[in-house]
Amino acid sequence: MTQSPGARSDTPAGLNILIVDDSAMMRTMIKRSASLTGIPIGRIFEAADGQEALEVLKQQHVDALFTDINMPVMTGIELLRQIAGHARWEHMVRVIISTDGSEARRNEAGALDVRFYVEKPFRPEVMRDVLANLTGAR
């Protein structure tokens, strides 16, 4: 099945999420945490940096973006700046998952429409709380 950019996925029952982190192990851990929540997940896309994430976003429908900040090529903050203000991604919930929990970074993220800010390390229950909130808030 060919999907047009921005079209709804073929798994409308669950949230489509995009996980952006330069650590493949961290992406795996986030995926595993998401799958353990019991909350319906549609498709899970992955990207190793902000640039890769942009390419995915142009091709796929994503309900929720989970992004790290500190990554090569394009950081999570740069990614959020790139998509800010675009109607196409207006619906998409932005979540940061980062080791940087400073107030300065939180404020920066807040100005870029980030709804949730998760500090690494996190327990799987945190992912459950975030996803439950997203499904309730959609």
Binding site: N70, D100, S102, K120, P121
Partner: protein
Amino acid sequence: MSSPISPVLVDCQALVLAAVSDVAENSLFAFADASEQAAFDAAAAAPLDDGGSTWVNACIDFTGSITGRFTLTVPEPLARHLCAAFAGAESADEVSDGDFLDFVGELANMVCGDWLTRASRHEAFSLTIPRVHPGPPDNNQPGAAAASEHVYLSIDDVPIRVQIQWGGNDGR
């Protein structure tokens, strides 16, 4: 002679221990505690055929109001065990070498970021991508204006070390 260490980092040992404990307990199902240099040195010096192990180091440079290099040194068997726990794998044998090195870098990233957030909650720091290399424990050579601090810890009773080398720029 004045210390090059920022006042917010006076309690560096306790903050690093808190960061390692946070990561160990929340992501690795492990327990961290303070340890002694003698325990680390003995483990590092032990021959491979007499209870010794290979080691792996992960370095991150950080920049902000304080600047420096953070190096995490762990024995490879412990790191592989923690990697398996992180990945939800049944055993360390299930984890590829590439994923193992990726994990060690992420482990250092989590500890360094956690420590810096504890050290200075108000400001953001820039961190480099972790550089991971297997080999004997790194012993950073102090630069012209640098000082270093070693924090000796254990995870699940296995000695590890965090080495912080304060940078010599005017960001301190």
